[in-house]
Each structure stands twice: as structure tokens, then as C-alpha cells.
């Protein structure tokens, strides 16, 4: 319940500050540009949103750290974190509140891309299964990126470092699957197992595999749990 109160406060602050009006348009314009202008969408002439679901995981590696960078780093820098930690709210509730707030912003960003499939469905026989899968996959992938971004943000007081650290980690997990042919063979199965991109690609094909869902959910849980632990550890400093 406390987490939800914090989440509501976070969402409200996103739309009170310019964040939502900078980050969201950047995501929406870049996605629209990439899928419908830079890609030969009409030349290829296929009723599919595959280009969007190929581009979104990459743009998320920039977009998500931009949301999470301020969540704890800014609170630490301004000294608000110490005040927050004195509230009668558990560390996990605080982390969950911040997470759900950011997750709602991510959801809003994806909601605003719904005109993409609607427009494509109007000019072709769109299979909604892979579209549903793609959106579910993006929510899971975005959630995992958010959890990582939160962890990095909680570990530093500098927003720039939080952004770069979050981006580096998210990007590394994103390209892990693409780098398989380049890494030492012994590493390949491990990289394949933790590759966000490969896991997401399965769901975006329209197949919701329990293994992929469990992977993303456990990545979110692990990220949030570690963030809560980082905050707990701060109490003892």
C-alpha cells in the first residue's frame, strides 16, 4: 500500500517536471522515425511491426536509464534520501514504489505507441498475436532494465554516473545475444542464457515461453532485491 502511495507520487512528479515531456517524446519520435521513415516500411510492404520490436529493446537501453538515473541518485545528492529512510516505510516498499512509478511511465510510453499497430492493422491483415507478445515482452524487458537502472541509481549520488552505468549494464545484456559468435566458446552458453535480446525475441515472435517470463521476472526481483539491500546497507554507514 505504501509502495503504491510512493508510486503515485512518482508518477505525478514525472508529469509535473519536464521529464515525461522530454523522455517520452524522444522515445516516440525516434520509434516512429525508425519504423516508418528510416525503414523502407512501404517498400518492403509487409503487415508486421517487427521493425518496432527490433528497435524498441535497443532504444530502451537509453530511455530506461534516463528515467531511473534520478530516482535515488538525485535523492542522495539533495540529501532527501536520508529523510526518506527515516520515514516509516520499509526499504523494499520504497524501492517498489519507485519501481512501479517508473514502470507506469514506461507503460504510458508503450500505450502511446498503440497507434502503430492500429495503423498497420488498418492497411493490412495484422496478426495481433506477435504484437501482443511484443508488448508483453517490452514490459518485461523494460521492467528488467528498470530494476537494473534502479540498482545503479541507488549505488551512486551522481545522476550522470547512474545514467552511464545503467546504460552500460542494460546495453551489455542487450548485445550479449548478438555477440555470441565473437566471444570465447566457453562463455557462449552463459551469455545466451542471460541475453535479454534472445529472450525478448522469443516472446516477440508470439510465443510466451514460461522460461523467458520467469527469466525476466527473476531479473526484476533480483534487481529490486539488490537495490533494497543497497539502501539497507546505507543505513549502517
Amino acid at each position: 500500500m505504501k509502495a503504491l502511495t510512493i508510486a503515485r507520487r512518482e508518477v505525478s512528479s514525472y508529469f509535473d517536471l519536464p521529464i515525461a515531456y522530454v523522455v517520452l517524446p524522444a522515445f516516440l519520435i525516434l520509434s516512429g522515425l525508425y519504423v516508418f521513415v528510416l525503414q523502407p516500411f512501404f517498400l518492403v510492404g509487409r503487415t508486421t511491426l517487427r521493425p518496432f520490436f527490433e528497435f524498441a529493446p535497443f532504444i530502451f537501453t537509453l530511455f530506461v536509464p534516463a528515467i531511473t538515473m534520478r530516482l535515488f541518485a538525485e535523492e542522495r545528492r539533495s540529501g532527501n534520501l536520508e529523510v526518506l529512510l527515516t520515514w516509516p516505510v520499509g526499504d523494499l516498499s520504497l524501492v517498489l514504489g519507485k519501481f512501479f512509478g517508473a514502470f507506469a511511465l514506461l507503460g504510458a510510453a508503450l500505450l502511446l505507441t498503440l497507434p502503430f499497430p492500429l495503423a498497420v492493422a488498418a492497411i493490412g491483415d495484422l496478426d495481433w498475436g506477435p504484437v501482443l507478445g511484443g508488448y508483453l515482452g517490452l514490459m518485461l524487458l523494460g521492467g528488467a532494465y528498470l530494476a537494473i537502472g534502479l540498482l545503479v541509481s541507488a549505488a551512486t549520488r551522481n545522476q550522470i554516473i547512474a545514467f552511464i552505468g545503467g546504460f552500460a549494464l542494460c546495453f551489455a545484456l542487450y548485445v550479449a545475444g548478438k555477440a555470441l559468435p565473437l566471444v570465447p566458446p566457453a562463455l557462449a552458453p552463459w551469455l545466451e542464457a542471460i541475453s535479454f535480446d534472445l529472450r525478448f525475441a522469443g516472446i516477440a515472435r508470439g510465443v510466451v515461453d514460461l522460461r523467458d517470463v520467469v527469466f525476466f521476472v527473476s531479473a526484476i526481483a533480483l534487481g529490486l532485491g539488490c537495490t533494497a539491500e543497497v539502501l539497507t546497507a546505507r543505513r549502517w554507514r
Partner: protein, 520 residues
């Protein structure tokens, strides 16, 4: 106090993080042990197809499936191995299947175990494939058994390795069908050579056709086509076949065999690639005798459904891609016939119109706004921008057809050309086929095969239909291209392009503005 608590707190943090990590790993291991999948696609393309379930239900006893799947394999096979494993797990859940998944690349295997596995796999007909495998930090090239063996009663069939994950169910269902319906003899696909046809036997296309049967070049030298050939594939001949060649092909068909002909009627000149040379393949009288008439003088054209083709040149002489009316995208495909079932579109460059004089199926037809043009001699796209009333006839035409039946020989009322191969005894003339002849004709050949994945699926389906009943053809089409967009005007395209780039942001800003205004 603080000094003594801090190390304890750090230890507690470390322990909690370790426990979280362990929990996450355990959860993933559990999910791996009990995989569950939900297929959201409209045509259930990632779920076992009805034909697969039907075959599993036909079995009157357990089917043993021994899958030799190297786990330490490198791309492109890595995803295919996972897809094979997942599909096999679904086979196991859907029927009386005993599944054994073996890893021939397992470094833990001792020499004796490796040899024993190798011999067993060879006995099942699973091929040894040269693969890149991970050993320690190094990649090594080694021949490893890779494939799936189906064992049922005394029958066995092996499935060759696949490269694309999307082909997993098709390949496995083929193996399953071979043992259940006792189709364990591998058919032979004869590929005509010697008249300027591309060498398909040594091309990448062979990897698509060899799962259907062994490929063998057939050079027409006057002698009868070997009796072992089940289907004759004729793709893009550049020199016309003579009377004796026609007779040999006719007598092959009269054995109740299948013909798949993908013919070019306007190949490019060898000197000037933009110039198109009219060509007669020599097969036209033969095909006409079987009821498939081809108007070699005319070429199909569609300005509203033109495909991009690399045919024009810029000021520097570089080839550029432009939408070309002679490269029509066919959307009117027979949804019921095994050759085109599941395909949403097909590119048929420079196709000639077909008319059926017997009962058969039109597989592909140009769009309602299409036309035909006589005497096409150049690829220059500017020539086709406007309607030429003298040479152009409006109307949709067929460009691919399939016929199945027992037509009379094309030589039943004609003099039969003598053989020049004196050492070969001429077999007796057959006037009527002993079984059904299956014939697939498409009037776009080599350019069509280069024009997209659906053309390859068409070819595979045509061969499959010629060799069997084509029941598995729909399975393959499920993995092919997405459906095409509808015809749109330039204004609609602009609206979609810029509306979707700016629209969502405008909506967000509007909502933000309303929120602020409401607060005030």
C-alpha cells in the same frame, strides 16, 4: 557499537544478495525443467499442427525418437537445436512417444561411449555433419552426428539438421510421417541440366530440396530418363528443348511421375542486362498437350502491385532498385492447394500468361488492375509508366497452375522422334500414364527464385506435392513471410509515416497541457 554492527550488516547484505541470486537461478532451473508455452499467433504457427497430431494419433504403439543434438554448437544451428528440443517435447506430450535426447558433443563422454553413440546414430541413418564446436576456450571443427531418428516397429527414418528454427516442426513431422506411413524410401528429384539451366544441385537451393529427396542432375541426351527419378524439376532453361527431349520428358510423365516447371520467357541479354530476349523453351507444345497453354508473346504487368527490383541505373551507372510493373506481387493465390496454401503473396517477375484447357487449379493470378503487354524487350521502367493501348491488354491473368490427372501422351497422334543413342534400347511407347501425372507450371523462373522467401517455399511445396500428397506443405508456409500491406495511396502513406512519427507526441503534449489547465 557501530563498529561491531557494520561488518555484521555487510555480511547480512552479502548473504541476502547471494540468497536472491540463488533463488533466481533455482527459479530459472525449475522453469527449464517444466517448460510451458503459449502461442499467441492467429494461425498457431508455433503450436503442433493438426497433421502432426493426426500422425501421432495414427501410431499403434510407441514411437521412439532419438535426438542427436549437439549442445555445444555455434550459430546458426544453436537456435535450431533449441527449437528441435522444444518441438520434440511437444511431440512427447501429444503422443505415445519415448524421447531420448543425446548430446554427441558432450565432452564428458569417454571414447567408448562416444564410439557407441556414433555407431548407433549411423545405424539410424543420422548423418555426421562437420560442425564448429566449443571445446574449452577454442572452437574446433569436428564431424558430429546431428539429426533426429524416428523408430517405429521395424521402420526407422532420420531427419537431417536444419538451420532455421522455424523449420523444426516441418522437418520432424516429415520424419514422423515416414515411419508411421512407411515412406522410408527417399525419393529422387531429377534436375534438368544441359540447356542453360542454373545448376541447382550445387547451389544453396539444394539445402532446401534435399530434405525432400536426393537430387540428381538429368542431362537429356536422347536416352530415357532413369526409372529411379520420381520428379523432374525444370528451372529456367535458356536453350530450347528439341523434339526428342520433349518425347523423353513426355514418356517420363507417362510413368505417372511429376513435373515442376519454372520457366523464363524474357531472360536478360548476356551482353546488355537491360535488354530482354524473347525465348521459347520448347516445352510449350508438351505442356499444351497436358492442358497448360502459355502465351509466350505476352508478359504480365501490374502498376499498382509493383515490386522493388534492382533494374534501373543512376547517373553513375550503378544499379538502383525501383518499383517495376513487370515484377508484379501476386496476392491472388489458391488458399486450398498444397503448393500455395498459407502463402500470402508471391513475386513473379516477367511472367507469361497461362490458360488451362483441362480441369486444374490456377495457383497464382495477377491483381484486378493488372494487364499483359506484348513484345516486352527492355527492363527500362520508364517504358511502362503509361498505358500503351496498342500493346497492352487490361485484365488479370494466371501465371502459375497445377494439374493432376492422366492426360494422353503428347505423341499419341504424332510421329515419335527416333533416338540417336544407338546403344540404348528404346522402351515401348506409353500412350496413357500408369498413374496420375502431377504438373506444376509457373512462368517465372530464375528471377522468381531470387525474389523472396515465399518463392522458395513455393518451390519446396511444388516438389513436395509432386512427390507426395503435399499434406505437410502448409506447415512450411506458416514460417514464411508476413502478409503484404494493402494497396495504399501516396496520401495514406504520408499520413501513416508522419502521423505516427509526430502524432503520439502531439497526443502526449495535448494531455499534458490539459492536465496543467485542469490543475489551474
Amino acid at each position: 557499537m557501530a563498529a561491531s554492527t557494520r561488518p555484521r550488516a555487510r555480511l547480512q547484505t552479502a548473504c541476502t544478495i547471494a540468497l536472491l541470486l540463488l533463488g533466481a537461478v533455482l527459479l530459472n532451473v525449475l522453469a527449464d525443467l517444466y517448460p510451458r508455452r503459449l502461442d499467441l499467433t492467429a494461425d498457431g504457427r508455433h503450436t503442433l499442427a493438426p497433421i502432426t497430431r493426426e500422425l501421432l494419433a495414427e501410431a499403434e504403439g510407441p514411437i521412439t525418437i532419438r535426438a542427436y543434438l549437439p549442445q555445444r554448437i555455434q550459430p546458426p544451428y544453436r537456435q535450431a537445436v533449441r527449437a528441435l528440443r522444444d518441438t520434440l517435447a511437444e511431440f512427447e506430450a501429444a503422443g505415445d512417444v519415448r524421447l531420448e535426447v543425446l548430446d554427441p558433443s558432450d565432452p564428458g563422454l569417454d571414447e567408448a561411449a562416444r564410439r557407441s553413440m556414433d555407431e548407433a546414430a549411423a545405424g539410424h541413418g543420422v548423418a555426421a555433419v562437420p560442425l564448429q564446436l566449443a571445446e574449452g576456450d577454442a572452437l574446433i571443427q569436428r564431424e558430429v552426428r546431428f539429426g533426429v531418428a524416428f523408430l517405429y516397429r521395424e521402420r526407422q527414418a532420420a531427419v537431417a539438421p536444419i538451420e532455421r528454427a522455424a523449420d523444426a516442426e516441418y522437418a520432424l513431422t516429415r520424419g514422423l510421417r515416414a515411419v508411421i506411413r512407411d515412406e522410408t524410401r527417399r525419393p529422387v528429384i531429377g534436375v534438368l541440366a544441359g540447356h542453360g539451366e542454373p545448376d541447382l544441385v550445387d547451389s544453396p537451393l539444394a539445402t532446401l530440396l534435399t530434405p525432400l529427396g536426393d537430387m540428381q542432375r538429368v542431362v537429356l541426351d536422347g536416352r530415357p530418363i532413369p526409372a529411379t527419378i520420381d520428379l523432374l524439376l525444370i528451372v529456367g532453361p535458356r536453350q530450347p528443348y528439341g523434339e526428342r527431349d520433349r518425347y523423353v520428358i513426355d514418356q517420363f510423365a507417362m510413368r505417372g511421375r511429376a513435373l515442376v516447371a519454372m520457366l523464363d520467357y524474357r531472360p536478360p541479354s548476356t551482353v546488355f542486362p537491360d535488354v530482354l530476349v524473347p525465348l521459347e523453351t520448347g516445352l510449350e507444345p508438351l505442356l499444351a498437350a497436358y492442358g497448360v497453354e502459355i502465351d509466350t508473346e505476352r508478359t504480365a504487368l501490374d502498376r499498382t502491385r509493383a515490386l522493388p527490383a534492382p533494374v534501373a541505373r543512376d547517373a553513375n551507372g550503378r544499379v538502383i532498385t525501383v518499383n517495376h510493373p513487370l515484377f508484379p506481387r501476386i496476392r491472388d493465390l489458391d488458399p486450398e492447394h498444397p503448393v500455395t496454401r498459407g502463402l500470402s503473396s508471391l513475386a513473379t517477375p516477367l511472367a507469361a500468361p497461362i490458360t488451362l484447357a483441362v480441369e486444374g487449379r490456377i495457383l497464382a493470378r495477377t491483381g484486378p488492375e493488372a494487364a499483359t503487354l506484348s513484345g516486352v524487350a527492355t527492363l527500362d521502367v520508364a517504358r511502362y509508366a503509361a498505358v500503351d493501348p496498342k500493346r497492352e491488354t487490361a485484365g488479370s491473368v494466371a501465371v502459375a497452375a497445377a494439374v493432376s490427372g492422366r492426360p494422353a501422351s503428347a505423341f499419341v497422334d504424332r510421329e515419335r522422334p527416333p533416338t540417336e543413342a544407338a546403344e540404348t534400347a528404346e522402351p515401348p511407347f506409353t500412350a496413357r500414364p500408369r498413374g496420375d501425372v502431377r504438373l506444376v507450371v509457373v512462368t517465372s523462373g530464375t528471377r522468381m527464385l531470387a525474389a523472396g522467401e515465399n518463392a522458395l517455399v513455393f518451390l519446396q511445396n511444388a516438389v513436395e506435392w509432386g512427390l507426395t500428397d503435399g499434406a505437410l506443405a502448409g506447415l512450411r508456409a506458416r514460417a514464411a513471410e508476413d502478409p503484404p500491406l494493402e494497396d495504399t495511396t501516396a496520401a495514406t502513406r504520408r499520413l501513416v509515416r508522419y502521423g505516427l512519427t509526430i502524432g503520439p507526441t502531439a497526443l502526449l503534449l495535448l494531455l499534458g497541457g490539459l492536465r496543467r489547465w485542469g490543475r489551474r
